[in-house]
């Protein structure tokens, strides 16, 4: 009898243990987004709400893991010694959501599409590719020249694999029409990602359903994803999005204003997550000799630009604007999350005496007017302006505000009709070439509109992007960061995390540093 009860006890224990360890599965996660997707296609994803969703519906050949490029849809990948031929061996168990197996032909089709300049503005990411050919499950990528970033680009959303058969079968005369038709159809087929798009209403809702043929397995050995699906609601207003979460109508709300982070952290029903991001907030400074209206531009003097940076107490700004949820920029050209970032912190640490001396050397008279262009309606920008006006007065700058909408700010950046304006950036690829090209390399976009143009810097950038030796490439990027910091074409502000609030019932949802919303290992208990 005693023996029997022991057995029963053990069985009971084992039962409770195994049920405690069983993986939560099933259910729909309700997710409040700040903006809706327009078209989720690897090559047509233009804005963040599109880009950040691509990898839920599609898979890339390679992927990033702990800062390194690893196999994803491939069993192996190998670069030839001359750096010109990349051989990819595909896994043989990959199926698209409609059940058809992925083949080399799909890879050729997808990469040809992704490097077609007539179709996509992302073509230059893999502009080094000369040709792509497949034989069975072996794909050969031939390059025009050695490209140190090519592996990272094959881990980037724009090169994700699309089913050729499903794409060809879609109605429409052009590539765009076919893509739009597939997006609107709500049927599985075109991607091999953990979900497929099962419903879409422009600007209102979007639904993902689990891909029954997904290849990656979860902790319980069964295929991912754990969720049955994700239901998205588009709630553009920050306050309403938070209310929607607090009322329990959604499980997750993204893009929480930093001013609300502390309050939501204190809410016992919620988890407030701050995911590391590649997001940087900075302010381009017009470095041209004259302003657009022909008047002399005092900001042409590097000493004044350096003075402004020294006079800016970034720690105070992080406390004021981000309520502490962020940190001052540590590299002048990228976020700390970007590969090859040099930690130069404190980057222009607060030093008002040095700032005063530099401003005096630049010949700044008390009351020198400078215009700070901000986004109308942005609480963050309003706080920032007020703080900077106060911080810069002692060095003789009279800061005046000009408020515009985002499209106007972009136009001013292009035309050079500004002194200093707020701006932000998030990397789209796991490589520094994109952000450094934008911020510093003049031919891309006038060094983020500042007009700064440095021959040494430009030369280093061009050389670095053809340099296959990782150490030499990293060294070139280090030099670029030093040159850029010295020249100060930016006012460096801070890097911010992605603030996402969720119910205590949600586990495993993450947002990657590039912004990707990742649902494949997420669970929710309702």
């Amino acid at each position: 009898m005693k023996h029997l009860s022991t057995v029963a006890m053990i069985a009971l224990l084992a039962g409770s243990v195994s049920s405690a360890w069983a993986q939560d599965r099933g259910g729909i996660m309700n997710f409040a987004r700040y903006d809706g997707s327009k078209l989720i296609d690897p090559i047509y994803a233009d804005s963040n709400p599109d880009i950040w969703m691509v990898l839920n519906l599609f898979d890339t050949l390679l992927t990033m893991k702990d800062g390194a490029v690893v196999d994803n849809l491939t069993q192996s990948h190998e670069m030839s010694a001359d750096g010109l031929t990349l051989t990819l061996t595909l896994r043989d168990d990959i199926k698209f959501a409609d059940g058809t197996p992925m083949t080399g032909a799909d890879v050729v089709f997808s990469l040809d599409r992704a490097r077609n300049r007539d179709l996509t503005s992302w073509a230059d990411l893999i502009g080094s590719i000369d040709s792509v050919a497949a034989e069975g499950n072996v794909v050969t990528v031939t390059l025009k020249h050695a490209d140190p970033a090519i592996l990272a680009m094959l881990a980037t959303f724009s090169t994700a694999i699309v089913s050729k058969a499903a794409f060809d079968a879609a109605p429409g005369a052009t590539d765009q029409e076919k893509s739009a038709a597939i997006f609107a159809s709500g049927k599985p087929g075109v991607g091999s990602g953990p979900f497929y798009l099962s419903g879409f209403s422009q600007g209102t809702t979007m639904d993902f359903t689990a891909n029954p043929n997904y290849w990656r397995a979860g902790a319980d050995g069964k295929p991912l994803p754990y969720l049955d699906g994700v239901h998205f609601e588009i709630i553009p207003d920050d306050a309403t999005r938070v209310l929607k979460l607090q009322s329990g109508e959604v499980d997750v709300a993204e893009l929480i204003p930093f001013s609300r982070v502390a309050e939501l952290k204190a809410d016992p029903n919620l988890k407030m997550e701050l995911f590391p991001s590649t997001r940087i907030i900075y302010a381009p400074i017009n470095t041209r000799e004259t302003r657009a209206d022909g008047s002399a531009n005092p900001l042409n003097d590097v000493k004044l630009r350096q003075a402004l940076n020294y006079a800016t107490d970034k720690d105070a700004l992080v406390a004021l604007v981000l309520q502490g949820a962020g940190s001052p920029m540590a590299s002048p050209l990228m976020s700390s999350q970007t590969p090859m970032a040099t930690d130069m912190s404190p980057l222009y640490g607060y030093d008002i005496e040095k700032a005063k001396a530099l401003a005096a050397e630049a010949g700044i008279q008390p009351g020198t007017p400078l215009t700070f262009t901000t986004l109308a309606g942005s609480a963050d920008d309003a706080t920032l302006f007020a703080a900077l006006q106060h911080m810069w007065a002692p060095i003789g700058v009279n800061l005046v505000v000009e408020q515009v909408d985002s499209a106007t700010r972009g136009a001013k950046n292009k035309s050079g009709e500004f002194d200093i304006h707020t701006y932000g950036w998030t990397d789209d690829v796991a490589d520094p070439a994109q952000v450094v090209g934008w911020l510093g390399y003049n031919p891309t976009a006038n060094a983020v509109g500042t007009g700064w143009n440095d021959a040494t810097f430009n030369g280093l950038y061009e050389a670095a992007n053809a340099e296959v030796d990782p150490a030499k490439r990293a060294d070139a990027y280090k030099q670029m960061q030093e040159i850029y910091a010295e020249a100060a074409p930016l006012l460096w502000l801070y890097q911010t995390p992605y603030a996402v609030a969720m119910s205590k019932n949600v586990e495993g949802y993450i947002q990657l540093p590039l912004g990707v919303n990742k649902f494949d290992e997420a669970t929710v208990k309702h």
Binding site: S121, Q246, A407
Partner: protein, 310 residues
């Protein structure tokens, strides 16, 4: 009567033509362009040039205008840059929800303002009158988005009587889900109607024909319904018509706060993205809606007031 309606309809054509010219010029006077808004921060100058060429932004203004007129006459109003779909289908998708919200909130505001205006007018100068007028004076001085957030915070998030945002399904579901957005607009509109209707009722009550009706011994119900209400409504109808015009601009704010995917929110998105074809199409649709409402208002007024039929 039919003749005057026809004249009114014909007069709408030059109105719409004028609206088209003005909006075509106005959107292009805004700094920034669709290519920049579409490609965003990361776009290089070369990419922007390609996008501009694709969107036809390098064509002469005249060519662009001719294309706009052609597209409008053909009914599809061009292609939305932001939504990558014909403007007509994008608008048709969102139009019902905005009309629903407009009619709902006007209905609510009449339901609120009508009875209260009578109560206030009949108790002129006494406490019910003061109370009603004070409460609605507050409504008049609070911005719609603020009323909206207060309603959302207490009735939806705290008490959970209503959903936070969204539109609901089915007629009853929509009435329920959109009660708060309709109410936040209605509160403001009701305040305006109430003030006007109360004054009108007081004026009519003091009129000789009402005194005469009282002397004749007509029951108060008949006096109020047939004589007072009908005459007091004449000026109020104009006001309601005009407030529907205002309400269209009010939807820009309300639809954003309450996450109602209607034309107001669409217009906001279109402006920020400098989506010229969509802004043009939406402006035209708003112009048509407002013109139709004004026409209906006039018709209703001439039914109420026989003097206007001449």
């Amino acid at each position: 009567m039919a003749r005057s309606i026809l004249t009114r309809l014909l007069l709408m054509i030059p109105t719409f033509a004028l609206v088209m010219i003005i909006i075509f010029v106005l959107v292009r006077l805004l700094p920034g362009d669709p290519a920049l808004a579409l490609a965003g921060d990361r776009a290089s100058d070369a990419e922007l040039a390609t996008i501009r060429e694709k969107l036809g932004l390098n064509d002469s203004l005249l060519t662009q205008f001719v294309l706009f007129v052609k597209a409008t006459l053909s009914g599809d109003m061009g292609r939305s840059i932001l939504m990558r779909a014909p403007v007509s289908s994008v608008i048709a998708d969102k139009l019902p929800i905005t009309i629903f919200l407009a009619v709902y909130s006007v209905g609510l505001s009449l339901l609120i303002a009508g009875p209260l205006a009578f109560v206030a007018a009949l108790n002129r100068g006494r406490w019910p009158d003061s109370l009603i007028r004070t409460v609605f004076q507050i409504g008049l001085s609070m911005p719609v988005f603020y009323i909206g957030l207060v309603l959302l915070t207490f009735l939806a998030a705290k008490l959970r009587l209503f959903p936070v945002g969204g539109t609901g399904t089915g007629f009853v579901g929509q009435l329920y889900a959109m009660f708060l957005p309709a109410m936040s607009i209605a509160f403001y509109t009701a305040a305006i109607i109430l003030r006007n209707l109360r004054t009108a009722i007081i004026e009519v009550l003091d009129a000789e024909y009402v005194s005469f009706a009282k002397v004749k011994g007509l029951p108060p119900r008949v006096i109020l319904g047939r004589h007072v209400l009908r005459n007091a409504l004449i000026s109020t109808v104009t006001l309601v018509g005009l407030s529907i015009g205002n309400l269209m601009s009010g939807t820009l704010v309300t639809e954003t706060v309450f996450a109602v995917p209607g034309l107001g929110r669409l217009m906001l998105e279109a402006i920020f993205a400098r989506d010229y074809p969509l802004i043009q199409g939406l402006t035209l649709v708003f112009a048509v809606l407002v013109s139709v409402v004004f026409l209906l208002t006039d018709l209703f007024q001439s039914w109420l007031d026989p003097r206007m039929r001449q």
